[in-house]
């Protein structure tokens, strides 16, 4: 028998069932990641006790950390399972689903709320139409470089998972959607409608619910400066609330 990897996985067959931990041992391969360990379980769905079981369900797609799908808790830390290399993890490797979103099955959760939040804050630029009107405004390199940092957000949910203010009792839209407001408001065309987005951030579950724990930035796999965006929009919403009613 060659080298093996031990995984202990939190499983649950549907939202109404009780979850349980199940151990698996899969063959080790050089430079393997957590996703390929899960793929080994698909090919041979047998747990450590030798029982044939249903293979573990999990979400994945791009496998190179640009789609955001395969986010889970790996040894208690929220991250993507494609970029989690087994050699760098303590064994046994414990895998669990995100806790801030409704569970679907095993490691699969439903992150629909994150997309709904983007809708809430009008995270889009109001273009007049898709007909040909020539290029958009010129943009300085420096501004583009700052915007690019924010535009890498994969809506993966790491920041939501780490934020103490995102929980069952709160409607907080979370750091990701706030950073997208920063992105769109800092675009010359997006800025034309910025009040609408600021108003949305001032509503229920908005920016006031941020407790400044700053966990979000620490867990963001793309290193997005989330707290900078939050601070910036805190000021912008304050100004908006003072001057907004004056019709300014």
């Amino acid at each position: 028998m060659g080298k093996e990897v031990t995984l202990i996985i939190k499983r649950c067959k549907d939202p109404n069932s009780t979850s349980y931990w199940e151990e698996f041992r899969v063959p080790y391969f050089s430079k393997m990641n957590v996703v390929s360990a899960l793929m080994e379980i698909q090919k041979n769905p047998v747990n450590s006790k030798g029982e044939i079981v249903t293979p573990v369900a999990w979400d994945c797609n791009c496998l190179e950390e640009v789609c955001g799908a395969c986010t889970m808790l790996i040894n208690g830390k929220v991250r993507q399972s494609c970029s989690a290399l087994v050699d760098k993890l303590e064994q046994p490797i414990r895998l669990a689903p995100l806790t801030k979103f409704p569970l679907v099955r095993d490691l699969v959760v439903d992150r629909k709320v994150m997309f709904a939040n983007l809708s809430k804050v009008n995270a889009w630029i109001e273009i007049d139409g898709t007909h040909d009107m020539g290029p958009g405004p010129k943009i300085p390199q420096k501004i583009q470089e700052l915007a690019y940092e924010l535009s890498k957000c994969m809506t993966c949910g790491c920041c939501m998972e780490a934020c103490p203010n995102v929980n069952k009792n709160s409607k907080f839209i979370g750091p990701a959607a706030i950073a997208q407001v920063d992105l769109i408001n800092s675009h010359p065309t997006g800025a034309l409608q910025q009040e609408k987005r600021l108003q949305a951030l001032m509503g229920e579950g908005g920016i006031a619910d941020c407790g400044n724990a700053q966990n979000c930035e620490k867990v963001c796999p793309k290193g997005i400066p989330l707290t900078r965006s939050i601070a910036k929009l805190n000021r912008a919403t304050t100004i908006q609330s003072i001057f907004g009613w004056l019709g300014k």
Binding site: K13, D14, F29, M32, N33, S36, M39, Q42, K43, N44, P45, I52, T54, P55, A57, C60, N61, C62, L63, E64, E65, V66, C67, G68, S83, L85, V104, R105, D106, V108, D110, R111, K112, F115, S119, N122, A123, W124, I125, I127, T130, D132, M133, P135, G136, K138, I139, P140, Q141, Q144, E145, Y148, S151, K152, M154, T155, L183, I184, H187, T189
Partner: protein
């Protein structure tokens, strides 16, 4: 508008089609296997081509058109390619207006870089994550129409079959909710497939896990013609992984990266030596075959393996961060070395399908009312795709398909609402029965292992170098796998959140298309673009300047051929060791 249009696929082509439809007031049901932001378009790295001539190099849409036709070894029908190339600059400007964070020149204009098969810098880019940035912008625009009630999004739903009326028109689809695995039927007046490529047929590739090609396979099995299936692009540079082969963008070479191996103890820049006119910027099929020759025939690969060095360690680290950070990050994360300091080690990997569903110039498949756009159709790349042309083709095809679908529905004498309800009830019942049958499969074969076996055979025999006896053996192997498929066991798992049953269904689509690819390659006795046969090393225009068309029959694909429209540019020999011969518009 009372009509209903369905779009299947939430990548660039599907979202652009949706946007065009919604903008003109058309109600759209949009289905996607994954939340649209997680579609495979996010993996496109290098950029999107348009002859915007930002660098004052004298680029023109004609040059871009000629490079595309030449790069595709003259297999693409020229009128739609020309129209796409001419629209490309306006597509860039539209995406720019949507706020895509394209890199900028010091003056603030949209910056451009070079990609393979071109002498001009015409690739607009957002770092090395251009596809991701484009799709996010479109997803936001579609969300805007969703909030206005024009778009209904069904994310994590899978397309299972077309509903065809007694005239053979496409009138809707059956779909499955991937949580509950329940089946529904959705009527429509037109359906647009924008479901991407079939890379998963090769097991591991640069593609995402959803890229099984099953949606196109379903349409094919229901009568849609599949074209040029044998043309599969092998990208010269990827990094190996057990789960996937991760793409290392062509923009690495475009921004100055050099490919080499050791020969006689010294670095040997073989692309620069063999192709002095284009050097490291030869198209992908050329670079891939050169790497194959160096590694397999000359046995000069790194560590004796099929790997070469891809070197950017001589470039300015700040410029690397500004333009290539996304892809350099991937290398660092998955390999552990810093490409700013150590040459990367890369090798070729299956990347893209030039072939796909046959469509007419309105993006309509051979089934009336069924349109296709993006990698799932065949129209824009001929025998080899140039880097940077996939994004423009996906967006352009979506822009054509949307309005053409509306035009088509306007011409219908009956709307879907006037069709007998039994048509839909029956379609739903049939799909439900097939789904139930999948659950009863309790044999001894594991679908994931069958898939692995398929991938190994396809990679070994139907990629860079193709030989007829091995293609024949591969087709026999695929048929053996199809037999063994019947003995698959899906386990006793419940329907909720079940992933084996949907995978098993997709596997049948993969097997079916694998035969189209393999047999198409076996029949085409010439070498052209990505299709290379040592037994027939030259392009043979006399016999093979024609589009392959495959039609489904239960015993296997039936092939026919149609001529290629070469009305603008006369075929000439394709070579990259010397500068391309200049052609002129109307010349």
């Amino acid at each position: 508008m009372d009509g209903k249009v369905i779009v299947i696929g939430g990548g660039l082509a599907g979202l652009m089609a949706t946007l065009k439809l919604a903008e003109s007031g058309q109600k759209v049901d949009l289905f996607s296997l994954v939340p649209c932001k997680r579609s495979h378009s996010v993996c496109a790295q290098g950029g999107i081509n348009a002859a915007v001539n930002t660098k004052g190099e004298g680029d023109s849409t004609w040059e871009h058109f000629d490079d595309t036709i030449y790069g595709g070894d003259f297999l693409a029908n020229q009128p739609p390619v020309k129209a796409m190339i001419e629209a490309a600059p306006s597509i860039i400007y539209l995406m720019d207006r949507m706020g895509v964070t394209f890199n900028r020149t010091p003056e603030g204009f949209i910056d451009v870089r070079r990609l393979g098969g071109a002498k001009y810098s015409r690739t607009v880019f957002a770092g090395a994550t251009t596809g991701q940035q484009l799709i996010y912008a479109l997803d936001e625009q579609v969300r805007r129409y969703e909030s206005q009630g024009l778009v209904n999004r069904y994310e994590e739903w899978e397309f299972l079959s077309l509903v065809l009326d007694d005239e053979g028109r496409c009138r809707g689809i059956t779909v499955q909710d991937l949580k509950s695995l329940e089946i529904e039927v959705f009527p429509a007046d037109a359906v647009i497939l924008a479901t991407g490529g079939p890379g998963m047929i090769f097991g591991r590739s640069t593609n995402s896990t959803i890229n099984t090609g099953n949606a196109a396979a379903i349409a094919y099995m229901q009568g849609a013609t599949f074209a040029n299936g044998e043309f599969i692009q092998i990208h010269p540079s990827a990094i190996p992984g057990r789960d996937k082969l991760r793409l290392m963008s062509e923009s690495i070479r475009g921004d100055g990266g050099r490919v080499w191996v050791y020969k006689d103890g010294k670095p040997w820049y073989f692309l620069e030596e063999w192709y002095p006119a284009y050097g490291n910027m030869v198209p992908r099929d050329i670079a891939t075959r050169a790497i194959f020759k160096v590694c397999v025939d000359m046995k000069l690969g790194v560590d004796g393996e099929n790997k070469v060095y891809l070197d950017i360690s001589h470039l300015d680290p700040h410029e690397i961060d500004r333009k290539l950070a996304g892809v350099v990050d991937i290398y660092e994360k998955f390999v552990g070395d810093d490409p700013r300091k150590v040459p990367m080690q890369t090798f070729p990997a299956v990347h893209y399908s030039m072939g796909g569903l046959w469509v007419d110039y309105n993006q309509m498949t051979s089934i009336p009312g069924l349109f296709a756009a993006g990698e799932c159709e065949y129209q824009y790349h001929g025998a080899n795709r140039l880097g940077g042309n996939s994004l423009v083709a996906a967006l352009y095809a979506g822009m054509v398909a949307g309005p053409k679908a509306i035009e088509y529905t306007a011409g219908l004498t009956k709307s879907h609402a006037e069709l007998p309800p039994e048509l839909y009830e029956l379609a739903k019942k049939e799909t439900q029965e097939k789904n139930r049958a999948l659950f009863t499969m309790q044999g001894t074969e594991n679908p994931y292992r069958l898939h692995e076996e398929l991938g190994e055979w396809m990679v070994d025999n139907v990629t860079i170098v193709r030989e007829n006896d091995r293609l024949k053996a591969t087709d026999e192997k695929i048929q053996e796998l199809m037999e063994r498929y019947k003995n698959i066991g899906v386990g006793a798992g419940e329907a909720w959140g079940n992933q084996i049953v949907p995978f098993t269904r997709r596997l049948w689509g993969m097997l079916t298309l694998a035969r189209v690819i393999t047999l198409g390659a076996m029949l085409r006795n010439e070498s052209r673009g990505g299709h290379y046969k040592p037994e027939f090393p030259e392009r043979d225009d006399e016999n093979w300047l024609k589009t392959t068309k495959a039609n489904y029959s239960p015993s296997g694909p039936r092939f026919s051929y149609e001529p290629v429209d070469i009305s603008s540019i006369k075929p000439r020999k394709r070579r990259y060791d010397v500068a391309k011969e200049v052609t002129k518009q109307n010349g």
